[in-house]
Amino acid sequence: MRNAQFILFALVAAAVTFIAARLIDNAYVFFAGYVVLQYIVLATAWNILGGYTGYVNFGTAAFFALGAYTTVVLHKAMPLWPLPAMMLAGGVISGLIGLGMGYLTLRLRGTFFSIATLAMAVVAQTLITNWNFVGGTRGAYIIRPMDSTIFTGDYIQYLFLIMLLLSVTSVAVARAIEHSPLGYGFSAIRDDELAAEASGVPTLRLKLIATVLSGGLMGMAGAPLPYYVTYLDPASGFSLSYAVNTIAMPLIGGTATWLGPVIGAILLGTLQQVATVTISSALSLLLVGLLLVGFVIAAPKGIVGWFKQ
């Protein structure tokens, strides 16, 4: 399928999703759906660096929260900006952080790179915690705008729709990369960096492209968060569960293709939402752990890899 066809198909699927959610006519569907969609974006973004290029990033929460805090800053400084503009800003900030982090850490391989990303998340959280303008440890209260410019109805529907479009965008980007020269370059780096260089692949430049894309998309996913939760503090924005979920979803779905993170995010995200309502919210992380252990043993290549066998 060509890229244009795929985007059209994805937009139709998104439209169907949105209409279905409207038909159910229950605000909670939008609340829960937003989280699942947010994880589709995060898992897809993580997979560009982690799955395609082979660099495991434990710092998802940092990119995500920096996007969210960009919105907090803009909400105070430029309250008239529309949300999509804030999301772009959040994407740019997190993309730039990705570029900086890439320059500093991409010479590290394997576990050392992962530890460096985790350290980066801790540093970012400390900085935000000590920044009074965005609320510091107290956190920041965000009042949602009265109208969402498109809907006269619920603001949550607007947030849902925006996240839906962002997930279509990120999946389309990931899929386009897969069979492009960029995708072959990423795979070569993942498999053998030395051989990739010897084959003419500019490894450092490609890895930087991957961190910027991955970080930027995570930042965009985080940007609407303050309007979703209406209260944001560093401990919840930088929560380790974002990092854990975002790694678990591609691993469960399969890291080799764009479809894996999408399946993983829908499956795990929905399961967590259902468990939160029916059992308890604390159980959702336990679920992730159990599923991850199960998949590592039974289907190390994820659901997509399982079906390809």
Partner: protein, 242 residues
């Protein structure tokens, strides 16, 4: 000699207190078949790594096709037309054979030629050349040792090099398989590719090389006609002891 394809002068590389290469002089003419031999640990692979940019040399100059190589990254050197095969094959394990060959076509050959070529056809040509076309959709794990070496050569050739450095492409292969690789290298040379062969199998080196260079303990001790070089007393001493 000023228009040699590759000129190396005063090349030196140290690992801590150990001098892996010292004051190596080397020139390779366009279209030449050069054999490079030396006992284990004599610096052959270090020389290849310095040439290809995997390691940085401490001192000395290298000029390839009129371009000074010092400070250029490995992928830039590949794009200039210098390709290598690895001593232990290093295929991309998750990619099919066709995709393995496609990477350098996309990143090295395309960039150099500046024209759009048909990557799929070029993949097939290269795999056909080494006799692996039937396995184009398989992964490297399915290959035998000799097929792996052939894939390594096909991938090196995919970047359309002017100079191919074959680092022990035949080590551990059977008599017949050595002949296969030898024929392949001769064919490539016939097409105008300059080749440096690093090898321990003397039968292959002597059959292949027009000129033989011997490294011992990081120094070049002989350079000349292969038959003369192997009779040189210090070369014999390096291999057999004096």
């Amino acid at each position: 000699m000023s228009d040699a394809l590759l000129m190396v002068s005063g090349l030196g590389k140290r690992f801590g207190g150990f001098a892996a290469l010292s004051d190596v002089e080397l020139h390779v003419e366009e279209g030449e078949r050069l054999g490079l031999i030396g006992p284990n640990g004599s610096g052959k692979s270090t020389l290849v790594n310095c040439l290809c940019g995997t390691l940085r040399n401490d001192v000395g100059e290298m000029v390839f096709g009129g371009v000074a190589l010092n400070g250029l990254s490995a992928h830039r050197r590949t794009r200039l037309g210098m390709a290598r095969s690895f001593q232990l094959p290093r295929p991309f394990p998750t990619l099919t054979l066709a995709e393995n060959v496609r990477v350098p076509i996309l990143y090295a050959a395309d960039v150099k030629a500046g024209v759009v070529i048909d990557p799929r056809r070029r993949c097939e040509e290269l795999l056909d050349m080494v006799g692996l076309l039937a396995k184009a959709d398989r992964r490297p794990a399915d290959l035998t040792q000799v097929e792996m070496r052939k894939l390594e050569l096909a991938r090196a050739m995919a970047s359309k090099p002017r100079l191919l450095i074959a680092d022990e492409a035949m080590a551990g292969l059977s008599h017949q398989e050595v002949d296969d690789i030898l024929t392949l290298l001769m064919t490539l040379n016939g097409q105008g590719v300059t080749i440096i062969m690093i090898e321990h199998i003397m039968r292959a080196v002597l059959a292949f090389s027009q000129r033989l260079v011997v490294l011992v303990a990081g120094r070049k001790i002989a350079d000349g006609n292969p038959q003369d070089v192997v009779r040189q007393p210090d070369v014999v001493a390096a291999y057999l002891g004096s």
